[in-house]
């Protein structure tokens, strides 16, 4: 294998391709160490920044992982060990099965009453400037966060909403007020997380996350909550069922 410095494909892409093939072909097996960055520099007569850039792409694709002080290793697939969570069911109904003995907890990060900005107001069918709750929550199984959620919720029917309610169960609170959450419409995207989301979910900076924007509906009432939901893929798997109609 040679690197062609005069090719129109950048050196770092050539090296990415080469290492990818070593992994795909099985010459490098899960758990194996890649050549160290300095070795790659020497072997291909390139600078370290270039070698690192090639490896960066493999890290982002989840094909290898770096361990400081140790080396870079071909990733092991641990898909089957991760806890499975349905995206097409309300979390409240899946929490029982989720924990597998561990406790599901909520950690409220902030809760404030604010004036609704126009974009949120439009989705909730209220005038801009109406009071709404804004909150950020982290949800964990044991001590591993699986969801970071940021949401805007109608304030009028829920004026006595408290931190305690949110640290326990929002659904239980809503039920006590005599409402039922009927369904939520979600749009799902793959995204690279911002710093805040990375910090909250404890994510390696190179790993993409699932991001849902959700509109939740109350029975006989319509939309009452807009949420941005970020799902942690490192320790959980997200599933859904597709049907005919």
């Amino acid at each position: 294998m040679m690197i062609d410095k005069y090719s129109s494909t950048p050196v770092y892409l050539q090296l990415e391709q080469y290492l990818s093939e070593e992994i795909a072909s099985g010459k490098l097996k899960p758990g194996d160490a890649l050549p160290s960055e300095n070795t790659l520099c020497a072997e291909f007569s390139i600078s370290r920044m270039t070698a690192r850039k090639a490896v960066d792409y493999l890290v982002r694709q989840g094909k290898v992982e770096r361990r400081r002080g140790q080396g870079t290793f071909v990733a092991r697939q641990e898909n089957n060990l991760r806890i499975s969570l349905p995206l097409d069911r309300h979390l409240s109904s899946s929490e029982a099965t989720l924990g597998a003995g561990k406790e599901v907890t909520n950690h409220l990060i902030c809760l404030v009453l604010q004036k609704s900005p126009p974009s949120i107001a439009a989705q909730l069918h209220i005038p801009a400037g109406t009071n709404i709750w804004f909150m950020k929550r982290l949800r964990l199984v044991g001590d591993v966060p699986f969801v970071f959620e940021q949401s805007w919720m109608l304030a009028a029917p829920f004026s006595d909403l408290s931190e305690t309610d949110l640290n326990r169960s929002k659904y239980a609170y809503i039920a006590r007020k005599g409402f039922t959450v009927e369904r939520s419409e979600k749009e799902i995207r793959a995204e690279l997380p911002s710093q805040e989301v990375r910090d909250m979910l404890g994510i390696n900076r190179e790993e993409p996350v699932l991001h849902a924007t959700s509109v939740a509906m109350l029975r006989g009432f319509g939309p009452f909550e807009i949420s941005d939901i970020y799902y942690n893929q490192q320790h959980y798997r997200f599933t859904l069922t597709a049907t005919r109609d």
Copy 2:
């Protein structure tokens, strides 16, 4: 705004944070140019590689886009223009509404009969080594690909499967054989695409994709097809509905 070179947070993360806030606060609006890389170097007394690394993260998050020879610009949100596609319905039933006048087409890339590898066999409840179909398909609305699909399908009940069937409608073919696709169980992940997927979907290297691994079931028969499905987010939005139980 100052950069603290002696902080434990790396300089490039501080700069990423700063620029993120400029965008979030609206000081930099969609379409606005960021300071050029050389300007950032001078303003914060950092080297260009460091400035670029900060901007790299914003590019990957989709917050800005680079245009060679022009500059780096705050991304415009075009979410509402993208075609919406439900993940919780079979594609066959949504194709009618999907196109909005444009034609939905299939482009078969490969179709071969092969021996089932153990991992696929286990999921299809057949012995390893049984004959199965392996195929790759690209599905497009007009000439924009929205799905790249790679799948392994039982060969026994579908021995006369042809390229023509797959370029038209796989569901129609299955129906002609007297079967009904009941449902499919999907696991959804956010991933950075490999070279093949990037090429197929025409994706910029920095953009993550949605990746579903699906098991499709025939009514009264069980699993008959395993698929890897990659969804193009650049021109489509993917939705689903969550319900109680």
